[in-house]
């Protein structure tokens, strides 16, 4: 007992500040891509050629569209682009309620912020999640699991993982939906009482991600289930998942567009001074 108390003193109170304070993402973190099509060279397709996931499309007007639902956030395109059309910000909030909102053509942030009213009414203060891995590499699961740890402690924000789909409000799917998981995913969804929601967590369930095109996968879950929330990322950072879940529950109000990036950076600098490194990184 004494040892436990001693240990508790040493370990300290380590809960993260999210969502009260914006998370500080690592220096080299690749978040929301910002596209400046005005700089795009017409005859250049360096980004297209280098993208391993085929997320970039050249549009007829000369600009490009980056599909976050396909992007695996490797950053190769930003390095390949000599004219600086593509930049990856350190912004973590990537989730969207509609698939088409993931197509990025500019630097604005125009995601819908409010979920369907029923979700907020029902799950605003109690969201029970059943997670299903449908193929994939297991990294999304790991980073989702992180939300259970001290630093994130999603239980304090009314989110919990439950054992049975019968207990769940929401199905969180990761992975590109391997053919072998098709039936299991359907059965899990069918086992949930109404109303049942679906979250596609990670690039894989949205489009198949890096595995798109393989014979053994279905290229995302859309052909089986219509997700109520799309969260790109490979894997999404815990902060992204957390933000997405909160937004899904209708509990996270975004600061309006425009000043977001600046604000985040300012906060960064302000925090760096007074915080220990481990604290700033954890959040």
């Amino acid at each position: 007992m004494l040892e436990i108390l001693k240990s508790r003193l040493l370990q300290g109170y380590r809960a993260g500040k999210f969502p009260r304070r914006a998370p500080v993402m690592p220096e080299r973190f690749l978040g929301l891509p910002l596209i400046d099509n005005s700089l795009c060279q017409k005859d250049c397709s360096a980004c297209l050629q280098t993208c391993p996931a085929g997320a970039i499309q050249k549009e007829s007007d000369g600009g490009i569209t980056l599909d976050c639902g396909k992007c695996i956030f490797c950053g190769k395109c930003a390095r390949a682009c000599k004219s600086g059309v593509i930049k990856f910000s350190r912004q973590h909030d990537l989730a969207a309620f509609e698939r088409k909102q993931l197509l990025r053509r500019d630097a604005s942030y125009s995601y819908e912020l409010q979920p369907k009213p029923i979700i907020r009414q029902l799950c605003g203060r109690s969201l029970k999640i059943r997670q299903v891995s449908a193929g994939g590499c297991g990294a999304c699961e790991l980073d989702f699991n992180v939300l259970n740890t001290l630093a994130w402690d999603m239980a304090r924000l009314h989110i919990q993982v439950v054992a049975s789909p019968r207990h769940a409000d929401c199905l969180l799917v990761t992975g590109p939906l391997s053919k072998n998981m098709l039936l299991a995913l359907k059965k899990t969804y069918l086992s949930m009482p109404e109303p049942a929601f679906v979250i596609a967590c990670g690039t894989c369930p949205i489009s198949g991600g890096i595995f798109a095109g393989s014979e053994a996968v279905c290229d995302g879950i859309e052909e089986v289930l219509k997700p109520d929330l799309y969260l790109p990322g490979c894997p999404p950072h815990p902060a992204s998942i957390m933000e997405a879940l909160l937004r899904f529950m209708g509990r996270q109000m975004r600061p309006m567009e425009g000043d977001r990036e600046n604000k985040a950076q300012k906060e960064d600098k302000a925090q760096e001074g007074d915080k220990k490194p481990e604290d700033s990184l954890k959040a």
Partner: protein, 652 residues
């Protein structure tokens, strides 16, 4: 002629007529009524009519005895109390028998069955009636013999014959002991021991219950009902009528011995019921438990008289009486319901059944309710008895004297532990039979169950309900009866005590019933709220599949079997139960086969009877050696015997 004698004669007459007609081919094959499953033949009709008319004839006198307001004639009340289950169970099992004896039985066999059935009933009635030892002994012996014939009705199966022979031996031993009891009046202790053993044999006392599980399992279902719900009680009647009544001085001794037999009996019974796979065997062991508890109640009552605590005594007697009736009806019902299951599936092995609720919904409700009731859950007839005994024991615990506290405490804990183990046993049984998915082809077979059988089940449930609601009124009357019977035992004036206890019991049972009613009302209220006001529950919830982790092909093998359900408890009590496991473990990295089989042989057989038999056999072999046939050896024996006598003579 009293109605009882008339009934006995009528039943015997019907039996003889039935037997006579059965041997005549023409009349034996004469069909009187046609049911979906079989026909009712003339002899059977006669026997059936005899039984039912006879038993119905007793009802009025029985009712008068039970509800007469004045105290005298308590002997009559007791007799009526023991007659009550025989009447109920007799009529219903007779009706069930019609459906039981379907086309597969030849008319002759039916005739024989009915003969023995009627004779058994008649002898049981005679046993309750007999006032003279010789008649009693004759009736007792007849009851044993005729029921022996019923048990060996299905004589083609070897194990049935084995069970029947053990039963026969037990009956003969019991009869012999009782004979000794009646004709050795000079030695009270000897009389007592003989009587206890003799009647204990019939009442399924621990160790002496050896015949019980096998014969219940072997007998045809209606006969099992007769045995378990009617005959087994008569052991207690014997003890009350022939042991205590003639010699009230035996009461304290009887109290101790009943309590000392009853508690381990109850525990052993329920322990051995736990791992049983055969449904009827499980019920048989549960009978041993219930008999143990009844013995506890009676024993505690007699002890309390000895302690001069009339209030405790009265409560205990009322508890024992209610328990006896409740057990008879519930056990009868459960045996009959088990027969429904057997009819529909041809299977009595718990581990192979499952999902029968969908095939036999009515049976499922009735079984589950009866199972909950027999494990002592409220609102059940057994609970009504047990709560009285609990209160009695608690009053004993609150006493100042250690000699009172210790037995009360032991009884209190025995009751609690038996109760919770019985809940385990019966939730295992009803879950394994009725709930989940069928575990074998048999459970999926869905053969027709004759409607008559089902109606018998309904009748049982109605009777149970009537007696449940009547229990607040019956309990005080039981107290009266016992006071009247054993008035000589009480030293003080009983009037006030009796009045208070009767009031206590009536109030307690009434309150329990109203609590149950309250729960029912609360439930209905909650149910309506749930249905009406919760947004999504107004719609009919979709029926999908049990959550199977998303696996493609879940099978019925993926549910707990009855044995698996109790496995942890059986392992925990393995030193007591000594389960015999035949396990072939999977060997090596890629095993070819593995298997598991568990059986629990009767504890008394292992610990007591087998060593006893072995010892006897060894003794016999040894004495056989002395009989070698050599003359000189006999001479030597003669001389040594003479020598021994000489020495003894000198020593004196």
């Amino acid at each position: 002629m009293s109605p009882l004698i008339f009934a006995i004669l009528l039943i015997i007459f019907a039996a003889l007529l039935c037997l006579l007609l059965s041997f005549n081919e023409r009349s034996a094959g004469l069909v009187v009524a046609d049911f979906s499953s079989g026909q009712l033949h003339l002899p059977a009709l006669i026997a059936l009519a005899g039984t039912i008319l006879g038993l119905l004839a007793i009802v009025p006198s029985c009712a008068i005895a039970l509800f007469r307001d004045t105290l005298p004639g308590c002997g009559e009340f007791m007799r009526a109390w023991f007659l009550l289950p025989i009447i109920c169970v007799g009529i219903l099992s007779a009706l069930h028998s019609i459906a039981y004896l379907d086309k597969s039985f030849s008319p002759l066999r039916r005739g024989v069955y009915w003969f023995f059935f009627n004779m058994t009933v008649a002898m049981m009635l005679l046993v309750t009636q007999a006032e003279h030892p010789v008649i009693f002994l004759l009736a007792w012996e007849g009851m044993g013999l005729f029921s022996f014939a019923l048990i060996m009705f299905d004589y083609k199966q070897k194990e049935n014959m084995h069970a029947a022979w053990i039963y026969f031996l037990a009956c003969q031993a019991g009869g012999a002991l009782l004979m000794l009891m009646f004709f050795a009046g000079a030695f009270p202790l000897f009389v007592f021991i003989c009587g206890m053993l003799g009647f204990g044999l019939k009442a399924g006392a621990p160790i002496l219950h050896i015949w019980l599980p096998g014969s219940y399992q072997a007998a045809p279902a209606p006969a099992s009902v007769l045995l378990s719900a009617g005959m087994i009680n008569l052991g207690f009647l014997g003890i009350l009528r022939w042991l205590v009544l003639p010699d009230p001085a035996l009461a304290p001794l009887l109290g101790y011995s009943l309590l000392i037999c009853g508690m381990p009996g109850a525990l052993l019974g329920i322990f051995f019921a736990m791992p049983q796979k055969n449904l009827k065997r499980l019920l048989a062991y549960s009978s041993v438990e219930n008999m143990g508890l009844i013995a506890c109640g009676l024993g505690f009552g007699f002890l309390s008289i000895h302690w001069q605590r009339a209030d405790i005594a009265l409560l205990s007697f009322a508890a024992a009486g209610l328990h006896l009736l409740g057990h008879s009806l519930l056990k009868g019902n459960l045996f009959l319901l088990t027969d429904h299951v057997y009819r529909a599936s041809g299977e009595l092995n718990l581990d192979k059944l499952g999902g029968m609720q969908k095939i036999l919904p009515g049976t499922g409700y009735a079984y589950t309710l009866s199972a909950m009731a027999i494990s002592g859950l409220p609102p059940g007839n057994i609970f009504m008895a047990e709560i009285l005994l609990y209160v009695a024991a608690a009053r004993g615990i609150a006493s100042d004297k250690l000699s009172v506290v210790a037995p009360s405490l032991a009884l209190f804990l025995t009751l609690a532990f038996c109760g919770v183990l019985a809940m385990t046993v019966f939730s295992k049984a009803s879950a394994a039979i009725f709930l989940g998915e069928p575990r074998s082809k048999a459970a999926r077979r869905n053969l027709a169950v004759p409607p008559l059988m089902k109606r018998c089940g309904i009748a049982f449930m109605v009777l149970l309900l009537i007696f449940l609601c009547g229990s607040p009124f019956l309990a005080p009357r039981l107290m009266h009866a016992f006071v009247g019977q054993y008035e000589s035992l009480y030293s003080a004036d009983l009037g006030a005590e009796l009045y208070a206890s009767a009031l206590d019991a009536r109030r307690l049972l009434g309150l329990v019933l109203s609590c149950v009613l309250l729960v029912g009302m609360l439930f209905i209220l909650l149910w309506r709220v749930r249905r009406k006001y919760l947004p999504y529950s107004t719609a009919v919830p979709p029926r999908r599949f049990t959550w199977d982790c998303g696996f493609a092909q879940p099978t019925a093998r993926m549910q707990y079997t009855g044995t698996a359900f109790v496995q942890p408890l059986v392992e925990l009590f393995a030193p007591l139960l000594r389960p015999v496991k035949k396990i072939l473990l999977p060997r090596g990295l890629f095993p070819k086969k593995a298997s598991y089989e568990l059986s629990c042989h009767d504890g008394s057989e292992q610990i007591f009877w087998r060593p006893l038999v072995n010892f006897t056999v060894r003794l016999a072999i040894f004495s056989h050696r002395l009989q070698s046939g050599h003359l000189h050896l006999y001479v030597l024996m003669l001389i040594s015997a003479l020598l021994a006598l000489f020495i003894w003579g000198f020593a004196m």
